[in-house]
């Protein structure tokens, strides 16, 4: 028996598209993520219409068939070519391409209705919301509704670089991250779906003495937590990543137990297992209001109807500030765009995630062999902006090829952006705020993905009467009213 290939770049067959549809992925964005079609060198130019036609045959209506988001560059382009562009001539602060369009909802029959009431409503179907729903259900609190405005993985949970590390600068973050790493190692078995956790380590490079001092402080902290973090000379770092230019850094920090994952399946895994225990996950359902009575929220209003509830959790990531505002609660979050790109798939050449401190540059190689890298931009203004800029391509290309010249021939196939949910002290906002039953679970500043598995356990313990971790007092919204109370996390990259 032969195969009918719809996407030749990634070898996605008709049968795989049918399986994805049967698993509930009806829109092209979701089918793309579940099957991998359209993610290869041609970026869907050849196969998009073929897959759309098949979805139509399977029962999708023409109205719900919309192409997945187009991403630059239009052809695989070597980093060396992009490094010719001068970022100074490409000003920051523009919206980028494509302009954000409202998520296109599948036809009326395709979405199950919202319940009239639920014990817990979690706003945001990213990894924080879904992992919390899963952990609540495991602890017996199963009347849980998770709402997302789009398809699963549309937000930062589906847009991040998939790094999971324990190399942090505060004890709180180290502790959480170590637990998340332990859960990542078991996730595929516990949740029944591969996340391709690969412990290739994290290699932080310090370009100057001040950055070396940070690494030394962190290494002492890590040693107290039993981690294997080691400080390396440039020569030792070259043994870990042979192609680096050793003149670009003076020391490195290396923890071989950090690693990378493939982000998307985490959401499918948590959602599927939570739903099996009775949780309801409703996509394409946007929260429009929060109804209040006295010191409690009573209903979550959406564009598909209102839901009465006992408890509301704001896990809306970059949108959490807007969600809090619906209840009149002001939060200091500053959502800020961070851009990222992916290259052509190459045979393994890079084990760890590499980050050059002080520049925002980081890159790793995914399980599929693609270079995945991003670079924060100090000139990026606050705002929920998801478009892509040429400026980012130019900045990343210059910085990455300087640090690792052989990346010059690596071709970029796609760029995109997500938002960091930035807080004043780079720590999350947790616990009730404004109303006794309005819980906050946001403000993770680009590391919410890696912290979520551990965070959800602690939060679910608290919400099911199993004890409240001291983190929840330390990271309450109220801390911003008493400056100096929380130790800021300073080891943010990207």
């Amino acid at each position: 028996m032969g195969k009918t290939l719809l996407c030749a770049c990634e070898d996605v067959s008709l049968e795989e598209v049918r399986r994805a549809f049967a698993a509930g992925h009806r829109d092209l964005e979701s089918v793309k993520r579940y099957t991998g079609f359209g993610t290869g060198p041609c970026q869907g130019k050849s196969c998009l219409a073929l897959v759309a036609r098949e979805l139509l045959r399977l029962g999708a209506t023409p109205g719900e068939i919309a192409p997945f988001t187009s991403r630059p560059p239009g052809q695989p382009t070597p980093l060396a070519a992009l490094a010719a562009l001068d970022p100074a001539t490409l000003p920051a602060g523009h919206q980028g391409v494509p302009p954000e369009a409202p998520p296109r909802r599948p036809g009326p029959g395709a979405l199950p209705p919202l319940p009239e009431r639920a014990d817990v409503v979690i706003i945001g179907g990213g990894i924080l919301g879904l992992s919390l729903a899963y952990e609540l259900a495991r602890r017996g609190r199963r009347d849980v509704l998770v709402l997302d405005q789009a398809y699963l993985n549309a937000g930062a949970s589906g847009r991040n670089g998939g790094g999971v590390r324990a190399q942090w600068s505060t004890s709180d973050m180290v502790t959480l991250a170590l637990r998340s790493l332990a859960l990542c190692r078991r996730f595929a078995v516990d949740l029944g779906i591969n996340v391709w956790f690969r412990p290739g380590g994290y290699l932080f490079l310090a370009p100057d003495g001040a950055q070396v001092a940070r690494l030394e402080r962190n290494a002492e902290l890590h040693a107290r937590h039993g981690m294997r973090t080691r400080l390396l000379s440039p020569e030792q770092a070259l043994e870990v990543v042979p192609h680096l230019d050793p003149s670009r850094f003076v020391a490195a920090s290396w923890n071989p137990d950090d690693g990378v994952v493939f982000p998307w399946p985490f959401l499918w895994g948590y959602a599927t297992q939570a739903e099996a225990m009775g949780v309801k996950v409703r996509t394409f359902s946007r929260v429009t209001g929060l109804r209040r009575s006295g010191d409690r929220l009573t209903h979550v209003e959406t564009d598909r109807g209102a839901v009465a509830c006992q408890l509301v959790v704001n896990a809306a990531g970059a949108w959490s500030k807007q969600v809090a505002a619906l209840a009149g609660v002001a939060t200091p979050n500053r959502p800020t765009r961070h851009e990222i790109l992916v290259g052509e798939p190459l045979e393994p050449f890079l084990d760890p995630l590499v980050s050059l401190l002080g520049t925002g540059l980081y890159f790793s190689q995914s399980q599929r062999g693609e270079l995945v890298g991003g670079m924060g931009d100090p000139d990026e203004p606050e705002g929920i902006v998801l478009g892509s800029s040429l400026r980012f391509l130019a900045r990343f290309a210059r910085a990455s090829t300087r640090l690792m010249p052989r990346l010059g021939g690596v071709k970029v196939v796609r760029q995109w952006a997500g938002c960091y949910d930035v807080t004043p002290d780079n720590n999350p906002i947790l616990g009730p705020a404004g109303y006794a039953n309005f819980h906050q679970l946001h403000g993770f500043v680009g590391h919410g993905f890696m912290m979520a598995p551990a965070m959800a356990e602690l939060y679910a313990d608290w919400l099911t009467g199993r004890g409240k971790h001291e983190l929840f007092d330390r990271f309450s919204l109220a801390r911003f009213a008493r400056p100096g109370a929380a130790v800021g996390e300073d080891f943010i990259i990207g």
Partner: protein, 429 residues
Amino acid sequence: MPRLPDPRFDADCTIVFDGQEIPARAGEPIAAALLAAGRPLVARSAKYHRPRGPFCLAGSCHSCLVRVDGQPNVRACRTPCRGGLVVRTQHALPTATHDLLGVIDRVTPGGLDHHHLGTSSVPLNRAMVAFSRRLTGIGKLPDDPLLPPATPREEPFDVLVIGAGPAGLGAAEALAEAGRRVLLADSEPRAGGRLRCRYRLPGEPPPSLAGQVEARVRSAGGEVAIDAPVLGLWLDGGSVLALLHQRAEPGGLRLVRPARVVLCAGGTAVPAGIEDGDRPGVFWGRGLAVALAEHGTVPGRRAAVLGAGDEASELAARLDEAGMVVTLVPAARRVLGRGRVRGLADGSGGELGCDTVAVVQPPAPATELARLLGAPVAFDAMAAAFAVTADRHGRTAVPGLFAAGEVTGAMDAAQAAEAGRRAGEAARG
């Protein structure tokens, strides 16, 4: 007969393909030389290690990726030959022709469910992840760093016309007539788009149109950039900024800031979409017609032209004139053969022997650049295609962005030229 007997197509150098010398014509694509040498199998597919070869012959499908002079994932259909060029197959053990990993395809008749593979225990999962990583990736890291080309400076133009097929030629001509400074850019090595197929269809503009329009564009102060794909459209700086990769001399990147854009990008080859339709020896009809006309490529002895209509008949006529035994086949269920095509099956026991299949179906409109700027596209369920929504004058919902020709839906070349002309008139501003 590997090539048309014409001195224009005679081999004048050799390239080295997996250690074997292959006669080639300097300047022709690697794919043309390999097809002339009877070597349609040039690659292995990403997951199943299926035999692959050039399909679209037009730079879009990426089925012909090879390593060339130490650079991975180079398109054989897009990279010109020169004497001594070293071409290697990738992602195979040991070569694409004889790849032991082809067993993956044979033992997974229903496909691989990579989401649930090896999830029964933690040690098994860990081993599976480590092992599968060794199988991933197409090609190795480049041997040498490429040097950045010169830093491009922004070049203003009145209008950027993307695509020099009938629609783009029509638009550029209308703009140049009105004195507009146009940059007419095309990703192909020659202007003309589908006119390069040399089909003799009713109303089809003559191939000489390209030369006439080029002269007119230049006389109005504009420029024609051939072999210059538009890598993307961004909005850095607040208005449309296009990045072009000028592959021909002098080469390098170009940053273009046009006041308006007319998108005439035509369409992209669509895979056959039938069982084993990805076998080496299956080609996109238009790509094959161009290769025959411009490089004398005759890919085999017996061809099946899969499709119906005027284009299919014209392609069959061209292949017949080239000496192939040609059969027109309106529909088929399956391609026979493995390392290369050996026939077509119709699903009810009927089989047709052939070593070449040319797929004739309307290309998928190349909507990507329009979507980058937020222009709406519509799905035509009958045609099973997304197309840019534009009015009779090529106006899209995005100010300053016009679209004409096959990027807005199927039409013949005469209609495309007319639509392009109207869009060019509307884009004069």
